[in-house]
Subunit: 412 residues, 2 copies
């Protein structure tokens, strides 16, 4: 008689050392002994992926992606083995599965593969035999039996995709914070934990650098209607449920303030305003595997225009070089770069239905003399690029402006 | 036009850090550029297997063998990825293969699996495409797609088995010594490198603790007639060929002196001398996975006998406990244990045809007042268990006694 089928995902800090691993194991076994069926997804032990990456980069600055995946996948493989041992040491049955063993079939795009299909038969078999199934996050296998990885934060995606494939009752994402907050609690003392957020909000928050949950994983959860519970592996407190949007949520305009210091800005001035120029520029950037975030193009003057965009800070120099090459071809005037920027955003499904939210944000920043360098908006968020040094100030001011520290009249 | 198909095996010290790994990569590429086809087998980076074992043992003293294999196999998986990257950085093509990918099919005995079959099709495909194939040593996969490992030194076995399956021209075992010596050169200044040794001698030397080459690998090479070349990864000097015995080899009685300090001795006194007692005792020891090396039983007196045997020192306490249990059942008198022993052996295919070799050994030890606690002989070796503190002395004395420091009249 099973109460529920749970997928529980533990990140690298939750299994940061042997002591934590044993703590996690006890916690899993307790939930299992309440009569639940449990599938655990685990990341590499904290720091291990970086250690492996560093080894590869000591050999070559541009490691072959196939071989890099072979190397990186070992981090999770060690973690599943150790966690299985820790659970067995608690007197429960456990069995580990690599991405190849499960099998989590992906496409061929090494280091950022997409999941095509999950065969859950072996996992179900383990559950039938009363075992806790421990699955390696972050990794898969393609049709040629090559090891692939899903990109940073890919273990979240593994957990959500497994929950969908297994039709699990819930996907619990254990992390080192208590849930999703109105702002980074380290920055804003009045930040509140949100009991619920909508998938759409969570996608924006994740892609904005609040690394609680990988954006692709939330997107996947939304598409397959997987309920996610983001919670702490160190306390028993309920965390934040990530669910389908409902009417109550729209009552509040802004749910939270996010910021991101991992981007850099590139501006191309004096571009001839002709169809196909943007396609050529961003086509070239995309080919090199650099993910562009914000793109802003000003109104054309005298047949010339300026284009600004942001890229991950780690890709800044590569992107700038690339753009300098393209600039000559498209006859641009000048390339400007700035990697001392921050992106500050307000997020909320209520932004759709409340007017004047963006204007209120701009006014609040202006009142503090924070210069806005770029603006980008979507239905449920407004982002501003500002100087990096003002990031913390901006977050605090916006948190106050939208009164996020106050408990809502009716808890959402 | 290929000159030869080589299997080259590099151990953990040969790839001990990034610098050594790059050195090994350059060496491989040079041989490839001479027109040879190359399959490389690589062990985990030095210390990595022990690090992983330690992690597992921090969690539990008796780790589940299946999960231990999942953990241990990652050591070689990292090494194949890094070596592939290092070879690619030299401008050559390389492709890594795990045991699962090759695939190296084994039985189900985790942590000490036996190879059943190797499917070389993917490796051959890589060679056809001009790639250097990099295969993970030490690991395989069973029919249920479980990761298995072959036991300590298993990478040697992987290399030899691959050489046999590929019908390679030679299997080169690269190590941190120049070849096989008449005795440990660190101990005996006059020790000489042997140009050739017979498989049988090498099996004895390996099983006696001269850890140049795993005994099972030599046995496999003998059965499949794979020529092995043991040589240094740090110099270009020719090493030692391990080959079929020929007539020349028998001219010399003793080829080398080996010693082993990794054993412990257990003696059971006053055992009733009745059929089935030894079977019961050693059956029980074998069940627990402990490998017994020497067994000596004295002539029965008054219907009672003493049995002594040696086990790996790491299994000493476990074995002693076990034997104490069995002793009660078989009505033995006393259990004695000693883990401060050493085994010193003379090895040579000539021992078969030369008389008085063993007597000469005993006399040499007696002249130095070294007490012999156990003796065991085979066709091509004589081993004596002595007090540990006399091991080095015994090796030097025996090396002199059999004149191994003198260059032979006709170099073998």
């Amino acid at each position: 008689m099973s109460l529920a089928l749970l997928v529980q995902k533990f990140g690298g800090t939750s299994v940061g050392d042997v002591g934590r691993l044993q703590h996690v194991a006890r916690r899993i076994v307790e939930v299992k002994e309440e009569g639940n069926e449990i599938v655990v997804v685990v990341s590499a032990i904290a720091g291990e992926t970086d250690r492996l990456l560093q080894l590869a980069h000591q050999i070559t600055e541009t490691p072959n992606a196939r071989e890099l995946d072979v190397i990186l996948a070992t981090g999770e493989q060690v973690a599943i083995g150790l966690l299985s041992l820790a659970i067995q040491a608690c007197g429960s049955k456990a069995r580990s599965f690599t991405g190849t063993q499960v099998r989590i079939l992906t496409d061929n795009v090494h280091t950022r593969a997409r999941i095509l299909n999950i065969d859950v038969e072996r996992v179900r078999q383990a559950l039938r035999e009363g075992e806790i199934a421990i699955v390696a996050g972050f990794q898969g296998v393609n049709v040629e039996e090559e090891v692939t990885t899903l990109g940073r934060g890919g273990s979240d995606l593994t957990a959500v995709a497994l929950a969908a494939a297994l039709d699990a009752d819930i996907c619990e994402i254990y992390t080192d914070v208590e849930g999703v907050y109105t702002a980074d609690p380290d920055l804003v003392s009045t930040a509140r934990k949100l009991p619920r957020v909508a998938y759409e909000e969570m996608i924006e928050v994740a892609s904005l650098g609040a690394r609680v949950l990988q954006a692709r994983a939330v997107e996947y959860a939304k598409n397959y209607n997987v309920s996610i519970h983001v919670r702490s592996s160190f306390t028993r407190n309920p965390g934040t449920m990530v669910v389908q949007e409902d009417r109550d949520m729209e009552r509040v305009a802004v749910s939270g303030i996010a910021y991101d210091k991992n981007e850099a800005k590139i501006t191309i001035t004096g571009v001839v305003d002709r169809p196909g120029i943007a396609a050529k520029l961003f086509g070239r950037v995309a080919e090199s595997g650099i993910v562009v975030d914000m793109i802003v193009q000003n109104i054309s003057q005298d047949g010339h225009t300026d284009i600004s965009f942001t890229v991950p800070r780690s890709d800044f120099h590569k992107a700038k070089e690339l753009v300098e090459g393209v600039a000559r071809e498209i006859g641009a005037n000048q390339i400007l770069g700035d990697d001392r920027i921050a992106k500050v955003s307000i997020v909320g499904v209520g932004i759709r239905t409340h007017s004047g939210v963006a204007a209120k944000m701009f006014a609040a920043l202006a009142a503090e003399k924070v210069n806005i360098m770029m603006i980008s908006t979507s239905e449920i968020k407004v982002s501003c690029v500002i100087e990096e040094q003002y990031a913390e100030l901006a977050v605090r001011v916006l948190h106050d402006t939208f009164q996020l520290g106050d408990p809502p009249a009716e808890e959402r």
